[in-house]
């Protein structure tokens, strides 16, 4: 069949909300876009464990510690679901990881900010996971089957992440004056980076139109950012904390909150590797991978040996 006909069949299926599965014909660019997006999503889950790991041994109580451990373990799992989804597209997990380590593949810029106090763990769960969920829920309906199925699992598991974060914020905001100050300080530092997580404004978003046509993306960056803003401002006020945006105002006519301008220079700086923790995160990630090399090799050698032994005993 001619490429043009195949493309029409493909787009008709997408338009009819029929999922595309790995062995179905798909345009090269659709495959490339998915490999790029899903592997970046996987890298984000894995790198995202790093800013939180620092606080496992410093959690203020056993209850907070087990919750944080469970959240971080989920993130490892989410990274694995997503790497598996990229593998259905014919790439090897190790190759996508090499791209990350070589700086060719990105991960969410939010993880290049440091977690300075325990309140940051609250703010990360509440704001960063909150923004991630806002982005991920529509991805459950993504046109590519394996990605959509992975997102369904991720979203189901992740709903507790945001609650555990908010619960930390609530405890701090209702605590001593010093704890309250820490809560506000964490909000001041995480508020804007969280809003940047939705990506550039619609007018400047490079891949948006095509992704919408392919139903990989369902809502625009600005639409999702607005939903997040409307939800989160109210929650921030509930904490008795201030939103660090002097231009923030409620529009009675539209019923929506309106925010001040985002500092896109900061966003692009961090994307381009000049954030506070870019180098540290990549170094830690690469270190963990390289230092684990001998373990992976040893496990493979041991599996081969067991296999040989089994064969020998069967032959005897």
């Amino acid at each position: 069949m001619a490429e043009k006909d195949l493309e029409k069949i493909f787009q008709d299926k997408v338009d009819a909300e029929i999922k595309i599965e790995p062995k179905d014909w798909m345009p090269d660019d659709y495959r490339k876009t998915l490999v790029r997006q899903i592997s970046q999503h996987a890298h984000s889950e894995i790198v995202g464990m790093l800013p939180e790991a620092n606080w496992i041994t410093r959690a203020p109580s056993l209850k907070r510690k087990v919750a944080l451990l469970a959240k971080i373990q989920d993130e490892a799992g989410h990274g694995l679901y997503l790497y598996s989804a990229t593998e259905t597209l014919g790439v090897e997990r190790d190759d996508t990881i090499e791209d990350l380590h070589a700086g060719k593949a990105k991960y969410s810029s939010i993880f290049n900010y440091p977690t300075l106090t325990w309140a940051d763990i609250g703010a990360v769960g509440w704001l960063v996971d909150g923004a991630a969920i806002m982005n991920q829920v529509p991805l459950c309906r993504c046109s590519f089957g394996p990605y959509s199925r992975a997102m369904v699992r991720v979203c189901k598991e992740e709903s507790f992440h945001q609650r555990q974060g908010f619960s930390i914020m609530l405890a701090m905001a209702n605590g001593t004056a010093e704890q309250k100050r820490m809560a506000q300080d964490a909000i001041d530092r995480w508020w804007w980076p969280s809003l940047m997580m939705f990506g550039p404004n619609d007018a400047d978003s490079a891949h948006s139109a095509q992704s919408m046509k392919w139903k990989i993306k369902r809502f625009s960056n600005d639409e999702l950012r607005q939903r997040f803003l409307d939800m989160t401002v109210a929650q921030c006020h509930l904490l008795g904390c201030e939103v660090p945006d002097p231009d923030l105002k409620f529009n009675e006519e539209t019923g929506h909150w309106e925010m001040g301008p985002i500092d896109w220079d900061e966003f692009w700086n961090v994307v381009k590797g000049r954030g506070k923790c870019n180098r540290q995160r990549l170094r830690d990630r690469k270190g963990a991978y390289d230092e684990g090399e001998w373990v992976r090799e040893a496990a493979m050698a041991y599996a081969d040996k067991k296999q040989l032994r089994k064969k020998a005993s069967q032959a005897a």
């Binding site: 694995l80 593998e87 190759d95 992975a150």
Partner: protein
């Protein structure tokens, strides 16, 4: 493709409770079947999702080609006489 010998890919199937069949849950890399089983437990059953796990090396799965979809599955679509609704019954027969 990397030259290193990577851990092979395994498909994981989970029985969510007694009485139901195993269902595909996802995949993972592991050095051998025992390790695949242990990792499947950590990756796919963190919230009581299952009571039994199967793992199978992905290489061993033979899948049908989407291009054969018509020849494989179309013949069934016009055989309406394979369904009970094809047969008219007198009203007197209440259950059959």
């Amino acid at each position: 493709m990397s030259k290193k010998k990577n851990w092979p890919l395994w498909e994981v199937f989970i029985r969510s409770k007694a009485g139901l069949s195993h269902r595909h849950a996802g995949s993972l890399h592991a050095a051998d079947a025992e390790m695949a089983l242990e990792m499947a437990r950590d990756v796919y059953t963190r919230r009581n999702e299952g009571v039994s796990i199967w793992v199978m090396e992905s290489n061993n799965i033979m899948a049908s080609d989407p291009e054969d979809k018509e020849s494989l599955f179309e013949p069934a679509s016009d055989k309406i006489y394979r369904h009970p609704t094809f047969y008219d019954l007198p009203d007197e027969v209440k259950h059959m």
